[in-house]
């Protein structure tokens, strides 16, 4: 080869084809997707909690994309029905994830609705699940002698709080739990209109 223009033109054409296939066509195809029925926009607190989820890299161990029951037993584990594009209507950035060092969280709000459980579990996962390798997040909590006005100490299994102290969640921990509780994509998936199911 002795022509750099042809080389670069060829190389960029190859990239353009790949970009069309993986970015442009999905963009066009998915642009008009509507939210799954029953899916609600996140509240301000839930969005802040989503920010805490991102800041602490929860995505690197938890996926949010149950697979079809013909492919993997995700539904049998209680992770929910197979996800569809409409489930992510309000998600920006997407948090599909690529690892399941911990379980899928697409429907954790349904599976585990208790705020107390979530708060305690974030403070010390091993107090609730023996053998868990999830990091504990003490920096999302304050250890105090007594809760201030308007604050509520979390209830921990015996022996997990520092002696003589109570554990009070920070605003970040409360937001994160609000987000986790909101994760619910159990609404019915309607068949696409105009028989596009064949696509």
């Amino acid at each position: 080869m002795n022509n750099e223009s042809a080389l670069l033109a060829g190389g960029m054409t190859m990239l353009a084809i790949a970009t069309s296939a993986l970015v442009v066509i999905p963009y066009l195809q998915l642009h008009d997707v509507k939210p799954t029925p029953g899916l609600k926009p996140y509240t301000t607190a839930e969005l802040r909690g989503r920010g805490v989820y991102i800041a602490n890299g929860c995505i690197y161990c938890h996926s949010q994309q149950p697979r079809d029951s013909s492919f993997a037993p995700d539904a049998k584990r209680g992770w929910g029905r197979a996800a569809v594009a409409g489930d992510y209507y309000y998600d920006s950035p997407h948090l599909l994830g690529t690892m399941r060092t911990g379980p899928d969280l697409m429907n954790i709000g349904v599976r585990q609705p208790s705020a107390d459980w979530h708060l305690g579990h974030l403070y010390q996962p091993r107090a609730y699940v023996s053998g868990s390798i999830m990091p504990s997040y003490p920096y999302l909590f304050d250890a105090k002698d007594a809760p201030d006005a308007g604050e509520k100490a979390i209830t921990l299994p015996p022996g997990y709080a520092p002696v003589g102290k109570v554990i009070v969640p920070t605003a970040a921990a409360l937001d994160l739990v609000a987000y986790l509780q909101s994760l619910n994509r159990t609404g019915p998936v309607l068949p696409p209109i105009d028989g596009a199911a064949a696509r």
Partner: protein, 529 residues
């Protein structure tokens, strides 16, 4: 996307490709004459091995000396940055690894929590070590291959400064919990602007050098490096435009970017190194120029479309997944073309693997390219992916590619380049020896343990009768083994950096001949300290 539309677009694409093929044959772009493979040698040089030594042996090539002199300060800067990021990345990676089996260690420090330190590790590799080393090697190789001086090297220095400033800001952001939230694209887009400007300043002198070339034939390495330098900016820009991407489309874009950074940036830079240093050191041109061409264009076409295999089973259009799986399998073509070519070129010269550090690193890297690519192709198949997706198996595969292949190719190149730009041989052979065996042993332990652990994890997760915690517990011994492998790799890097520091500060023995592993029966000629 109905069937008719797919058929029509496939037909049109084929006709277009056929036209482009006929045109390129008529223009003689696919000149398969071996002359082009000899560009890397001076007139009488083919047949003479070259291994670095500040004192010249064999053929003197004035244009090469001028090329090296023009690029030396810039290349030196890039290699220094690469060394720093290599250490940062190794320490961060090892910390993340230990935290997976010691989850309460240092838990009260936010920036050391697994989700952040793991991300710091990835970004220090992805935007620190790999591009700094890869671009440094490209800046060293392009003037040599084009038989000209590096033009506008000052721009590259400015570019490197901006790039590193961006990376420090980016890693600081991640440590503080400010992140764009996409894997491989965590650095906030505001900081990304520094990378864009810095990257343009680094690319500018390379393009300037390319258009001022004094050779007729563009050598294989130039194709890879030239295209990589244009591919990466497109990937980075499209991926980081704020507010453009949404929902599931953002996920497909995410893996289009994530896999193409590997396939269309690090891989071509590492292959360019192998295509240059392997024939150069044994003094034999690449065996088949035709296979090089096939390998290059097949990689350029197929690699860009494989990213969807990261979303197998996910809520994305089915055709996209299938396309990516097919193209993942098609990647066997360029990989096998490269492997045959490498083996044929090296045949009859395997003895030099015992002696030359560069050749040993680069050849190991090339072999691991074959291994990791073939593994990757099969990993994309639905039957395999069903088990391995979401497990540590994928992590093992990623390290086989980015460490055992790309990083080893870069290590080999650095062992060749540093004596050339510093005018001083590597002072300690035993450190090179330790680096090689610790790195190779470390990645071996790493890969085997996580591959086995990941597979067991996947099998446990697929069995609905077993509780989820089984899939966690089964991995613990393998995660510990991974930390052992990671410690070995870090130790190897410390030997590399220590040797480098000694070389540039004039410590240790001076050598007047290459720092080969085995110097035959001749007495050591190095002068003691």
């Amino acid at each position: 996307m109905n069937t008719v539309a797919i058929l029509i677009s496939a037909f049109l694409l084929s006709v277009f490709a056929l036209g482009a093929f006929i045109w390129s044959m008529r223009k003689g772009l696919f000149d398969t004459s071996p002359a082009a493979a000899r560009v890397i040698f001076a007139d009488e040089e083919a047949g003479h091995p070259e291994d670095p030594a500040s004192a010249r042996h064999g053929i003197v090539d004035r244009s090469r000396e001028e090329a090296d002199r023009s690029s030396a300060p810039v290349v030196f800067l890039f290699i220094c940055c690469a060394m720093v990021w290599l250490l940062v990345a190794s320490v961060a990676g090892l910390t993340a690894s230990i935290k997976l089996h010691e989850p309460d260690l240092l838990a009260s420090v936010p920036w050391l929590s697994f989700g952040r330190i793991r991300t710091i590790h990835l970004n220090a590799v992805a935007y620190g070590w790999a591009p700094m080393a890869g671009l440094g090697i490209a800046i060293f190789l392009l003037p040599r291959l084009l038989k000209t001086e590096l033009m506008g090297g000052r721009w590259a220095v400015l570019g490197a400064a901006l790039w590193n400033a961006g990376l420090i800001a980016g890693i600081g952001s991640i440590a503080a919990g400010i992140s764009d939230g996409l894997e491989w694209l965590e650095i906030p887009w505001q900081v990304d602007i520094l990378f864009v400007i810095g990257g343009a300043f680094v690319g500018f002198p390379l393009v300037l050098t390319l258009v001022n070339r004094k050779v007729d034939h563009l050598y294989v390495s130039v194709w890879y490096m030239g295209c990589a330098l244009f591919w990466f900016p497109v990937l980075f820009l499209v991926a980081n435009i704020p507010g453009l991407h949404f929902g599931v489309e953002q996920a497909t874009m995410n893996w289009w970017f994530g896999h193409n950074v590997l396939g269309l940036f690090y891989t071509p830079l590492a292959l360019a190194s192998i295509y240059y240093f392997l024939p150069k050191i044994i003094g034999q041109p690449v065996r088949s120029y035709g296979l090089s061409l096939l390998g290059f264009w097949a990689l350029a076409f197929f690699y860009g479309q494989v990213g969807g295999h990261h979303l197998v089973g996910g809520p994305v259009p089915g055709w996209l997944i299938t396309l990516s799986i097919v193209q993942s399998m098609m990647m066997l073509i360029p990989v096998i073309a490269f492997s045959i070519n490498q083996h044929q070129t090296l045949r009859g010269h395997f003895r030099q693997l015992i002696e030359s550090p560069t050749l040993r690193f680069v050849t190991f890297g090339g072999m691991m390219y074959t291994l990791s690519s073939i593994q990757g192709s099969f990993e994309a198949l639905r039957a395999v992916n069903r088990v391995t997706h979401f497990t540590h198996y994928t992590v093992a595969h990623a390290h086989l590619g980015l460490y055992a292949f790309v990083s080893f190719a870069f290590f080999g190149a650095i062992y060749f380049i540093v004596p050339r730009i510093s005018g001083r041989e590597w002072p300690y052979r035993w450190m090179i020896y330790c680096h090689f065996w610790l790195a190779a042993g470390g990645i071996g332990v790493y890969f085997l343990s996580l591959t086995i652990g990941g597979w067991l994890q996947g099998m446990a997760m697929l069995d609905a009768a077993r509780p989820f915690m089984d899939s966690v517990q089964v991995t613990i011994p393998y995660l510990k083994a991974r930390s052992v492998g990671g410690t070995m790799m870090l130790a190897g890097h410390l030997f590399l950096v220590a040797n480098f520091v000694c070389a540039i500060f004039g410590l240790g023995p001076n050598r007047d001949r290459p720092a080969l592993f085995h110097q035959g029966s001749k007495p050591e000629q190095g002068v003691g300290t």
